[in-house]
């Protein structure tokens, strides 16, 4: 059931992307440039089957997918998947540290704001989080470049030179992600802190630290797992803008290049990878809820035991 829904989502995503791209530009004209001749355009269309009606082109593509053939890139004439996979390491180098730093900064900040709910420190951190969310990553990126590369001359602005090259792209991406974590942590913890069990815990004479650690934080974990899954799901597309600003040749910049070149197979492969990662990440998050939250674990067990019991009752002994 769930798998069916996931497949349907992927199919709709691919179809939508395919038809929008095709409707807004002819790959032959875009790739061969404005000065090309009609013969070259015809040869290109012939070579790639672009003369077929759109729905048939899509059918050919989907048929390939069913046989695990992700299609060829117009730009390289090579497999689209190879091209995408060659860019994955560069993107992971940005995304993994980003998730790490955004959790390391965002969760404590959100938690701190929540337990100081309504006070000045809460307002300041909330405001910072809103700013972090509101400033577009490319603007933040260019701002950082002006300060750290031009003004101070401390960091190389583009591509990979040495370890310092990670600081600005990871920093600008983390700012946004940390803001998301901070806001979700804050609202989750505020909600938990309003729960009567906290009053009970206080009344039982537990220390504040123990209440925070043993009651507030574990209960706020579920929404954080969901967000982490979403962030990881967006792994391949998350970095598009940042990669472009910092001249980083990852999947994100490949996506931008491929959309501009109407390199259908590559765009579709990236979307397929991003969609699959997101679905998998959500699935893993669902599984982990059971480990984190005893209530879910218990309810799953009881459902399971009900099923076993019913099955046992119906089967002849």
């Amino acid at each position: 059931m769930r798998a069916g829904r996931a497949l349907l989502t992927l199919f709709v995503l691919l179809g939508f992307a395919f038809f929008t791209l095709a409707a807004s530009g002819d790959p032959a004209v875009i790739l061969l440039g404005p000065e090309t001749n009609t013969a070259a355009l015809e040869a290109f269309r012939q070579k790639w089957g672009l003369g077929l009606p759109l729905w048939r082109q899509f059918a050919v593509y989907v048929d390939g997918l069913v046989h695990l053939n992700f299609g060829l890139s117009y730009r390289t004439s090579g497999p689209a998947l190879d091209l995408v996979l060659s860019r994955v390491p560069a993107s992971l180098c940005l995304v993994v540290p980003t998730i790490f730093f955004s959790i390391a900064v965002g969760v404590p900040v959100g938690f701190y704001a929540a337990i100081h709910n309504g006070r000045m420190t809460d307002r300041i951190t909330t405001m910072l989080a809103v700013i972090g969310l509101a400033v577009p990553p490319f603007l933040l990126g260019i701002l950082l470049i002006y300060i750290f590369s031009i003004w101070l001359g401390w960091l190389p602005p583009s591509g990979y030179v040495d370890w310092r090259s990670y600081i600005m792209p990871v920093g600008s991406m983390s700012a946004v992600a940390a803001a998301i974590y901070a806001r979700f942590t804050r609202s989750a913890v505020v909600e938990v802190m309003a729960n009567p069990m906290i009053e009970t815990a206080k009344a039982s004479g537990l220390t504040r630290e123990l209440i925070h650690r043993a009651h507030a934080l574990p209960n706020a974990l579920l929404p954080l797992i969901t967000i982490t899954a979403l962030e990881f799901g967006g792994v391949l597309t998350f970095a598009a803008v940042t990669e472009n600003v910092f001249g980083w040749h990852g999947v994100g910049s490949l996506l931008i290049e491929s959309v501009a070149a109407r390199d259908y197979a590559v765009v579709e492969t990236i979307l397929l990878c991003a969609g699959t990662t997101m679905i998998l990440a959500n699935f893993l998050a669902d599984l982990s809820y059971g480990f984190v939250d005893p209530r879910i674990r218990d309810s799953r067990r009881s459902r399971l035991s009900t099923v076993t019991r019913l099955y046992a009752e119906k089967s002849p002994v």
């Binding site: 807004s24 032959a28 001749n37 012939q46 390491p89 602005p157 583009s158």
Partner: protein
């Protein structure tokens, strides 16, 4: 004892460490290395497969042509892979090939390579291989091998610019062995088949292209750098930051707004300027709101080109004297004026044509050309001033711009002078070809007759007269408008190097073009 908190620490730090070390392209710092930040690198470097500025930029380093145009000396022809040549008759040119030239793949240059260069698959005769060379080489009949080091190229008809066809794009000579060894043509487009001053080290689609000095290069102008890295940095702001902070030695595709910012830094400078190309407009004169030639003349008369050059480029480019460049030498008509700016006459023509404010659609893009969007907006207001109702439509790509719908009227175009002759610019663009194929305009019989004579006559005086007549006719019934000479600017670290760039999309990285300090 294991604690719970050790789990994430144990897992995360290795992940971080692995991810940080997995991706590296260690930058080494030799004395004579160059790092050039570009907006885009070519998808392949086969000259005939991609006609783009990124590919032309690289081509000059990787390949040689039979003869070349010496732009630094008034555009005269000089020997290159051919030591000498003679025009045997208006249809035949004989080339004596240079001995001792070695390709990057180890192959020795001889007649076989010239035959391979102009083989059917590379001149557009194979319908299944898309190449850009067909308009340049469709006149080639056959290549005759006289002996190992002598060849004759036979044209189908008399060819006034025959020799020029072998001086520049896309006549770069390839190694026959490289073409033979490639399993498919697509595979060939990815290899380095040249004999130029630099050889290819590595390329990554959408990423860096690295070339290095070719030690066995035959020419006297050797590679200036030991290693050159073309790195893709799509954002102009980042390219500039990299130049100012010293990460890059050269940056390309610098806009007109950024010139002052770069020059304000004592260690940096701007190089480049007008190139052999005219930035202009193309008019759809078939069944469009501007089908009446008087309206198109009015469009041209309403443009104040000096104002464009001054306001957009701070006077760093110029207005050409009609559809020609000064490098045309004997064919340059120096007495021709720059295009007339006369709003009064424009208004009168519109009145005569009975134009009463019908909407004219002008499709443009934001930044395919330098200052493209700004130019379009200024033009719109200049046209408005004479009573033309032009609607600007910003599009994402060329397919959208050129879509042949009834409202298509004005589009942007750039007309490069591929040869220093009207055949390489005016008639290549405004004669039968790309624009007539895509139904922008038709070429009338009288222009066709003149064009055919321009293409075949070898009498310079006669050709000058014909060209002048053609320009006059074109002014009366214009299918295109002139704006300014296309400028190309680069930023450079002047504390490290000095440059003498060519007025062309080629980037000269030999000792003629780049000197280290």
């Amino acid at each position: 004892m294991k604690t719970q908190s050790s789990f994430p620490r144990r897992l995360l730090l290795p992940i971080l460490a692995i991810s940080l070390t997995a991706f590296h392209g260690a930058a080494s710092a030799f004395a004579h290395d160059l790092v050039i930040a570009v907006q885009k690198n070519p998808d392949n470097h086969d000259p005939v497969s991609e006609n783009s500025n990124p590919n032309l930029r690289l081509m000059y380093s990787l390949y040689d042509t039979l003869v070349s145009v010496d732009y630094r000396n008034g555009g005269r022809l000089v020997p290159n892979l051919a030591t000498s040549w003679s025009v045997i008759d208006p249809r035949t040119i004989e080339f004596h090939l240079r001995p001792g030239v070695v390709f990057h793949n180890g192959d020795t240059f001889d007649a076989r390579d010239v035959v391979a260069t102009f083989s059917p698959v590379r001149i557009g005769a194979d319908k299944s291989v898309p190449v850009q060379s067909q308009p340049f080489f469709k006149g080639i009949d056959r290549v005759e091998v006289v002996d190992e080091m002598t060849i004759r190229i036979h044209m189908k008809s008399d060819d006034a610019v025959g020799i020029y066809r072998f001086s520049t794009y896309p006549s770069q000579i390839i190694s026959a062995t490289a073409l033979e060894q490639a399993k498919t043509y697509a595979e060939f487009t990815e290899v380095d088949a040249g004999s130029g001053p630099y050889s290819l080290v590595s390329r990554k689609l959408g990423g860096d292209i690295v070339i290095k000095k070719f030690d066995k290069y035959w020419g006297s102008s050797k590679a200036a750098a030991d290693k050159v890295t073309f790195t893709v940095v799509p954002e102009l702001a980042t390219r500039i930051a990299g130049l100012l902070s010293g990460q890059f030695d050269i940056i390309t595709e610098v806009g007109a707004d950024e010139l002052r910012q770069i020059e304000a830094k004592p260690s940096c400078a701007i190089v480049g300027g007008p190139v052999q190309s005219i930035r202009g407009l193309v008019y759809d004169s078939i069944g469009s709101p501007i089908a009446d030639p008087r309206i198109r003349r009015a469009l041209n008369l309403a443009i104040n080109r000096d104002a464009l050059v001054k306001s957009l480029f701070a006077g760093r480019t110029s207005v050409p004297h009609g559809w020609q460049m000064q490098t045309f030498g004997d064919m340059y008509l120096s007495d021709r004026p720059t295009p007339e700016y006369n709003p009064k006459k424009a208004r009168e023509l519109l009145k005569d044509a009975g134009y009463s404010g019908q909407q004219i659609v002008y499709r443009t893009q934001q930044g395919y050309y330098t200052k493209q969007g700004d130019t379009a907006q200024i033009l719109q207001s200049m046209w408005k001033a004479v009573g033309l109702n032009v609607k600007l439509e910003f599009k994402e790509n060329w397919a959208q711009v050129r879509a042949d719908t009834p409202d298509r009227a004005i589009i942007d175009a750039d007309s490069g002078a591929y040869y220093p002759d009207p055949m390489g610019q005016f008639w290549r663009r405004m004669g039968p070809g790309e624009f007539t194929d895509s139904q922008f305009f038709t070429v009338g019989p009288s222009m066709l007759t003149l064009g055919n004579e321009l293409a075949t006559s070898l009498d310079t005086k006669r050709r000058r007269a014909i060209f002048a007549k053609m320009l006059e006719n074109f002014e009366e019934d214009p299918h295109a408008g002139i704006l300014y000479v296309t400028p190309m600017f680069m930023g450079m670290r002047k504390d490290r190097l000095s440059m003498d760039p060519l007025p062309y999309a080629y980037l000269d990285l030999t000792t003629d073009g780049v000197t280290f300090k």
